[in-house]
Amino acid sequence: MSTASNPLNKSAEPTTWNFKLLAQNDLGGFGGMGEGMSVQIAKDGRRIIWLAHESAPKNFTAVDVSDPRQPKVVVQTDLPKPYMRSNSLELSGDIMAVAYQTQKVNQQPAGLELFDVSVPEKPRSISFFDCSGPTSRGVHQLWFCDGEYVHMASGSPDFKPSHPNDDQFYRCIDVRNPAKPVEVGRWWMPGTSATDNIAPPPRHPLDKGYRAHNTNVYPQRPDRLYLCYIDGGMFVMDIKDKTNPKVISHWTNSPPYTGFMHTAVPLFDRGLMLVTDESTENAGKDWPKLIWILDARDEKNLVPIATCPMPPLDAYANRGGRFGAHNIHENAAVPTAWQSDQIVIGTFFNGGLRAYDISNPYQPKEVAAFVPPPPKGTPAGAVQLNDVFVDERQIVYTVDRHTGGLYTLEVDF
């Protein structure tokens, strides 16, 4: 065993391998970021990244990243209530959809807000779609790429879950007239509504809920929804008839794993699917939370074939905060998003940002890692990289969950 001495904590060396850090911006001291990241090319040619905050007091922040070495805050807005969080946003053109969730049911405002951000300095509210209610905490996550429909994980005033943790389900909102959003369809996992005739699903030990999380839809298959359902696994859904989504297939790893299936990204040309879990417990208590690679050649029979190799548990679990998978770059169907079916880039909380070459999907290989030092003032004791977006220039944007704000990097592999 090596006995190298070093001036830092023995197990806390930062790492920058095959990424080049360009800049970090703590967003004016409000560097606690969620999982909404979307890049706009403004009418004046500036490249603006819109970032959702993880919790109050801030709503979203826009950063000019035309020069990724010098990111500059353009606008930063506040949430009206301290019990709100935005956490998720997406842009299509100059229209931005923002999710509002509350800490408890029956709090307001909770729902979906649409903004005109054609003048980035002055986001203008177009409409608000109310999702509040006696059993609703509002919207946790949304997907909006085509300018027509917002696909979201949300509660509603007329949905009563069979268990309070199962309060959010899939809703499809028609925003072709952004001033008047209208729900056109919904789906929940059978058993999670109090009105269902079947028994509720058995609770998982950590019980994060049978509720929707990512709701991804891609232009290659606009009739398909790739829906992750936290403790319920993931579903491939037929949404050709948006009013009546139907299950095509279901895959879950839990039990024996610890639930919280988060994001599914199909790689259409290759017949593969990437699925992530989210780590939600500190100190690796819910290890392993992984990025899974599935053989999706038959969408009715998804077969897991590999996971992306994780850094060592004992080297990271006790650095502070969470350690495990969460978000990946999702190949969003927007012109400003990098598209790749051979490289996966994901965030792992204190495990940092990691890139994998999945040319051979049976043997993913880590090809890059970025684990910065603990951001100043973080309560976690370590970085907690929370989300990642890669633009079409292959500039990588990643955000810290607590104080670190935005990091911009170049790919160097």
Binding site: K10, E13, D357, N360, P361, F413
Partner: protein
């Protein structure tokens, strides 16, 4: 032994889950080494000045974050502390550099450094420099990096740099086959001690080295002073360097095969498979770029004796010149013999 032409390099996984963005050799890369850790091998005879060169490099901005592996049987002067340290212990040097001495297992030392970096037990390093024993034949070290099963999937040798002493190197090259091998296999040759070697020593040494290795870049370093880029720049970036033919008394020679038209991969692969199987030990080092039929970018090929590095396709050619160019350093294998083999295979395929 399965060869290049067989399914190993028509990756079955590519056929099972093809990506339109991938080439026949997998993901196209921006650069030859891809994501692998860059390695520079510094070799040269006893007392030639390897350690002096390396110490100077480690103090430069370009040298920051270098991990040095000293593959040495005797004491090393890289740092006074290391003279006293035990084998396989990694020690911090200045400027963010590290050093590990290994007297036994180079592969194990390299793998351990990467694992310990991953675990956060070692400071981050961005490249590895291996300083070999003065008696070392570089071939086994190069073979260590040739295959995925060894270190080839994690590390990439950017350059072999051989250090030669202007004062005594001439005599050494005459009597020592190891010293000649170190010169022949080098990408860059660094002549040292020209300040004490006397009038004309540099040019005489350069001429002697050029006769052994016409393709290598020949440089001079006094007291270890050398442009740091000469230790870090990948040798593949010298693809346009002129290489003349050379042969000498060991029967070792070098030549370049060039092709102006795209080559069918099966012809090249089967030819090289045949050469490796029949004359592996005499294929000392083969390296080059190929314009392969059906590939968008150049395909980088490299062989060390009977081992073939997995070919990699780059994203694009650097300029309009798409000429294939492969440098052969062989023992008792002539250019004509290799050309005849390619012609015969092509007729057969």
């Amino acid at each position: 032994m399965r060869g290049l032409a067989e399914s190993r390099y028509s990756l079955p996984m590519n056929e099972l889950f093809p990506s339109p963005a991938a080439g026949r050799f997998g993901r196209r890369l921006k650069r030859e080494r891809g994501a692998r850790v860059p390695v520079t091998i510094i070799t040269g005879f006893l007392g030639a000045g390897k350690t002096t060169l390396l110490k100077r490099f480690l103090g430069t901005p370009e040298g920051r974050g270098t991990a040095v592996v000293v593959n040495e049987f005797g004491a090393t002067g890289i740092d006074d502390a290391l003279v006293r340290s035990s084998a396989d212990e990694t020690v911090l040097l200045g400027n963010g550099c590290l050093c590990c001495i290994t007297r036994t297992d180079l592969q194990r030392a390299l793998r351990r450094m990467v694992v310990e970096r991953e675990r956060g037990e070692l400071p981050d390093f961005s490249r590895i420099v291996i300083e070999t024993s003065g008696l070392a034949d570089p071939s086994p070290i190069l073979q260590t990096f040739a295959t995925d099963r060894a270190l080839g999937s994690v590390f990439h040798v950017d350059a072999v740099v051989t250090v030669v002493d202007a004062a005594t190197g001439g005599d050494t090259l005459q009597w020592s086959a190891e010293a000649r091998k170190q010169a022949i296999l080098a990408d860059r040759l660094v002549i040292t001690k020209t300040d004490i070697a006397g009038e004309g020593a540099r040019s005489a040494m350069a001429a002697q080295l050029r006769a052994l290795n016409p393709g290598a870049e020949i440089l001079e370093a006094v007291n270890g002073e050398l442009d740091p880029g000469r230790l870090t720049e990948p040798a593949s970036d010298q693809r346009n360097a002129f290489v003349a033919e050379a042969t000498h008394s060991d029967g070792i020679g070098s030549f370049v095969l060039t092709y102006d038209k795209p080559i069918p991969w099966v012809v090249f692969a089967r030819s090289m498979d045949t050469l490796m199987q029949l004359r592996g030990p005499d294929l000392l080092r083969v390296k080059g770029f190929l314009d392969v039929e059906g590939c968008k970018g150049p395909v980088v090929v490299q062989f060390v004796q009977h081992l073939a590095h997995p070919p990699v396709e780059l994203e694009s050619w650097p300029d309009q010149n798409r000429q294939s160019r492969v440098v052969y350093i062989t023992r008792n294998i002539s250019e004509q013999q290799v050309r005849n083999l390619f012609t015969a295979i092509k007729a057969f395929v």
